[in-house]
């Protein structure tokens, strides 16, 4: 009996253990040097990542409120990988930070929240996980303590999150009112598509769309991404989004299956305007973090396209794309964090002539941008191709043509950055930066992921075999 709790909640227990360890270190008497702590914590996170691959047991707990299957283990492993890479790339920024331990405690708390969120089988646990994963991030957004922009970002994030959670809860309560249960399985049996339930769905959809920055719920994104410190932006734009997308997919395909025709149309419209607005605004950005924010909004539009396909291909292509999106974005953020921490430069104009002084970093950033644009031989091509294929499966070629045309627009703004790095001359390029070991490891892992994932089809086949929801 107790064994069940220990084994099924294995990933959660490991995170809780690390959090408590960090708390003890914090309140303990000994003064540790930042570098020692960083190396130690990264080893712990690596251990956490590797432990996620072993001894995964499927099952249900708390009467189905918490459930786990192989797909959820895959998703948790992806989140673990993401957090490990974020921690690696945050090294140059954290090295001089006073509140190193608080950073990791908050970060791991959000991870814990995400784990509960994606394993939830009940709206209550889902909401618990959602809140646990968003409130600490608002505190994290404030971690550039000497910058006013950072506090502003944190305020915007917490207030918008609170508002969107309120709307989500409203939808949840209407859903409970019409179906009489909070458990996903039971709700799905009582969805009839009457007006009240559709309104509940719309409210819940609004709450989700806020978290994944779908237009028109994206207004918080650019300012928060720009103001928060770069590793936190990376975490928000990649891992937080990924976790919410996982549970979003699961909820859409299981709970709301019967009103699929209605939500298909909603997703269609949302996707079109998201891709359009994301692309149009990304064209005009000069700040790299803001640029990546808008480009990630456009990517989410593509993900919605993939989501709309029939179950198996849709889920498989979305998860595959999220994995590649993780590698590509983290590679880009790795370079940006390093440059921002060492040289304090964040705009595209500052990056002109970057290739002359920092060839390795330039290539990492360039390959990351190519992967985001969807150019072979990087894995981003495969990710985008499969997403568009999943979307085309329903025969909605208007959507497919629109997405394909928008790939060209996105290609333009990604190439603009590549052009600045490789071709534009600069009198004062960013000076040569020596890359510390940990970020370099992160960049190499991301490079390997971006280049090899496309050719090693077993990754996709494994995801596909699990995507039976």
């Amino acid at each position: 009996m107790l064994n069940e709790y220990l084994i099924l909640l294995k990933s959660e227990w490991i995170i809780i253990a690390i959090i408590f360890l960090l708390l003890f270190i914090k309140v303990g008497p000994k003064e540790w040097k930042n570098e020692t702590l960083l190396y130690g914590i990264n080893i712990l996170l690596l251990f956490n990542l590797l432990a996620g691959f072993y001894n995964n047991v499927e099952g249900n707990l708390f009467n189905g409120m918490y459930h786990s299957n192989q797909l959820i283990f895959l998703e948790k492993n992806m989140l673990n990988l993401g957090v490990y890479l974020v921690s690696l790339i945050a090294y140059p920024w954290l090295k001089e930070h006073k509140h190193l331990l608080e950073f990791y405690i908050l970060l791991l708390s959000t991870l814990l929240g995400m784990f509960f969120m994606i394993s939830s089988g009940n709206l209550l646990i889902f909401y618990l996980g959602l809140e646990l994963s968003t409130i600490p991030i608002a505190a994290l957004a404030n971690f550039d303590l000497h910058k006013r922009q950072s506090s502003e970002a944190a305020m915007k994030l917490i207030i918008s999150s609170a508002f969107s959670s309120a709307i989500l809860l409203f939808g949840v309560s209407i859903l409970y009112g019409t179906t009489g249960s909070l458990s996903f399985n039971e709700i799905s049996q009582h969805i009839y598509g009457n007006q009240l339930q559709v309104i509940a769905f719309i409210l819940i959809l609004a709450g989700f769309c806020f978290k994944i920055s779908v237009v028109p719920f994206h207004l918080w994104t650019a300012d928060v991404y720009e103001g928060a410190p770069a590793p936190v932006t990376a975490y928000l734009s990649i891992i937080s989004k990924t976790a919410v997308l996982f549970i979003f997919m699961s909820v859409m395909y299981t709970v709301f299956k019967t009103i699929a025709t209605q939500w298909y149309l909603m997703i269609f419209v949302l996707s079109i305007i998201t891709i359009l607005i994301g692309n149009l605004f990304a064209l005009r950005q000069n700040n790299l973090k803001r640029f990546l924010a808008f480009s990630s909004i456009a990517q989410v539009g593509f993900i919605l396209l993939g989501l709309s396909g029939t179950s198996i291909m849709g889920i498989a292509s979305v998860i595959y794309f999220l994995l590649i999106y993780l590698f590509s974005n983290l590679a880009a953020f790795g370079v940006i964090t390093l440059v921002s921490a060492v040289a304090n430069k964040e705009t595209i104009s500052d990056y002109k002539g970057f290739y002359k002084t920092n060839p390795f970093l330039s290539w990492v950033l360039a390959i990351a941008l190519f992967s985001l644009a969807g150019v072979p031989p990087t894995a981003g091509f495969f990710g985008k191709f499969f997403l568009i294929m999943a979307g085309a499966e329903r025969g909605n070629y208007i959507w497919v043509v629109f997405a394909a045309i928008n790939m060209i627009i996105s290609f333009y703004y990604y190439l603009k950055v590549v052009k600045a790095i490789f071709m534009d001359p600069n009198d004062q390029p960013i000076e040569t930066i020596s890359i510390p070991a940990l970020p370099k490891l992160a960049m190499i892992i991301c490079l390997a992921g971006m280049i090899l994932t496309g050719f090693f089809s077993w990754i996709y086949e494994y995801i596909y075999s699990l995507s039976i929801l």
């Binding site: 072979p376 091509f381 499966e393 070629y397 497919v400 394909a404 290609f411 590549v418």
Partner: protein, 501 residues
């Protein structure tokens, strides 16, 4: 013979280049790699003849299939027929010539040769692919190297041209993507699964309404690569701003990717739609031919002259494909090979002149024959091939296209053929004027008297391409015999064109 070797060789060469140090090592490695590739292509030709002599009648030889993404039925499926082999040989010739011409590239030489080899890898992969996904993959592999090559090593308004080229080619790719997805989801094998496999799809009959929707996407998408009329605007700036080897590759091979795609994907897989839309194709092709020719007459920059003339010559390829007769399609393939060699030679000559005189404007050049006889002769040979002088490949190819086009009895198509023939006069005007003014006549700039003639690498590049042009020009039957079975196969899908209306 394992076709994957054609891909592994360039990949290995590119990989070794990454570890080389200094220009000398890099260019020698690149040259050795590309010469090996040329020998491999020759060996492929020999193996093909051998296998045909043994009586092998199958359509595609040396096939190799490997499941890539089994759940989606995507395969790495490669194979060749005569048309593919002709294009592979063309690519090998042009790449060796391109590397020889770029022998003195000092700036970031490692990256330059790396990108060039990567570009050729994309082309080889494209020509051997028999699965639409693999084909699309290799088509797109080439876009980023082109962008970087023009943007970093180019001249003139290179940033603008590089971006325009990259975006328009991506636009073409986007249209092709929609086209092939349409084909994928509307074809089922007997077991009801979708497939991207070219040969399997060609055996299925796709419903005519579906064909009529997706044929324009696929054809115009590939057409963008071949500078089909409204989407040709990337060609002049792109070719003119690119460094010499990149121009040679762009005009010589990259534009043929489109032609090959139009033939192998659009026309082959959707023949009924090809019949229905042939009048639009011929209209656009004729406009390209005539407009390209007239626009060239106005140009004062040598590279722009060659670029616009490429639009005109590639119009012949589309004209041949649009006419849908066997001779016309054979002419289109011959024109692809011939124009590839010829325009590479022309760009090589212009590049040699530019690197010495630092100007490409016709008005500032004159009497170069006195100072640089070899280069001038190469220039004149390229020009004569362009205007279709017999003895060179241009004549054989254009003649075949015209004869094939005339076979189609529709009176409007015959009018198009007549107009296309008439454009040869315009071609002659601009070629003779450009050649006459730059090569012959009085020397405009006194400093040009001190210029050196071609060095060994430039001579080798030119001779290699001239050999190709002359062989195809004097003995076109070799090329015709090579591509005939492939063309007949395509024609069998197209059915008998209604010759009597």
């Amino acid at each position: 013979m394992n076709l994957t070797l054609l891909l592994l060789f360039p990949l290995f060469t590119a990989f070794v280049i990454l570890f080389a140090k200094g220009l000398k090592q890099v260019r020698v490695i690149a040259l050795i790699g590309s010469i090996f590739q040329l020998l491999l292509a020759g060996k492929l030709l020999m193996a093909y003849y051998q296998i045909k002599a043994q009586g092998n009648q199958s359509q595609m030889v040396f096939e190799y299939i490997q499941n890539w993404y089994a759940p989606l039925h995507l395969q790495y499926h490669i194979g060749v027929d005569g048309i593919s082999i002709a294009m592979i040989l063309l690519t090998a010739f042009v790449v060796v010539a391109g590397i020889l011409v770029s022998w003195k590239t000092e700036q970031l030489s490692k990256e330059f040769f790396f990108l060039l080899i990567l570009l050729s890898l994309g082309a080889y992969g494209f020509f051997i692919s028999l699965d639409l996904f693999t084909l699309f993959f290799f088509l797109e592999v080439a876009v980023i190297p082109k962008f970087l090559l023009i943007g970093i090593w180019g001249s003139g308004k290179k940033d603008n041209s590089a971006m325009k080229l990259a975006l328009m080619l991506m636009g073409g790719s986007a249209l092709i993507l929609v086209g092939i997805l349409g084909i994928y989801f509307n074809t089922h094998t007997e077991t009801g699964i979708h497939t991207f496999d070219l040969l399997l799809i060609s055996k299925m009959n796709i419903a005519l309404p579906i064909q009529k929707i997706f044929f324009p996407f696929a054809f115009i998408g590939f057409g963008v690569f071949t500078a089909i009329f409204p989407f040709h605007t990337w060609v002049p700036d792109g070719h003119a701003s690119a460094p010499t080897a990149a121009s040679m590759f762009l005009a010589g091979i990259s534009m043929k990717l489109g032609g090959y795609g139009c033939l192998r994907v659009a026309t082959f897989l959707m023949p009924d739609a090809a019949h229905a839309y042939s009048w639009i194709i011929i209209l656009l092709a004729t406009i390209a031919i005539i407009y390209g020719a007239f626009a060239t007459m106005m140009q004062t920059d040598l590279k722009y002259i060659n670029a616009y003339s490429s639009i005109s010559h590639c119009g012949f390829v589309l004209l041949g494909i649009g006419m849908l007769t066997k001779t016309a399609i054979m002419g289109a393939v011959m024109q692809m090979v011939s124009h590839g060699l010829m325009t590479a030679l022309f760009f090589a000559a212009i590049g040699m002149i530019y690197s010495r005189t630092h100007t490409r404007m016709v008005s500032q050049l004159g009497g170069l024959l006195k100072a640089m006889p070899f280069i001038s002769s190469v220039f004149v040979i390229a020009g004569l091939c362009s205007l279709g002088l017999p003895g060179f490949s241009g004549f054989a190819a254009e003649m075949t296209v015209f004869m094939g086009s005339w076979q189609n009895p529709d009176k409007w198509f015959r009018l198009a053929t007549i107009l296309a023939c008439a454009s040869i006069v315009v071609t002659a005007v601009y070629i003779l004027r450009a050649a006459g003014q730059t090569i012959m006549g009085p020397m405009v700039n006194k400093e040009h008297e001190l210029l050196t003639d071609a060095s060994w690498n430039e001579k080798s590049a030119a001779i290699l391409l001239i050999v190709g042009i002359v062989v195809v020009g004097i003995a076109p039957f070799w090329l015709i015999d090579l591509i005939q079975p492939g063309t007949e196969f395509i024609m069998s899908k197209l059915g008998a064109v209604a010759l009597v209306k």
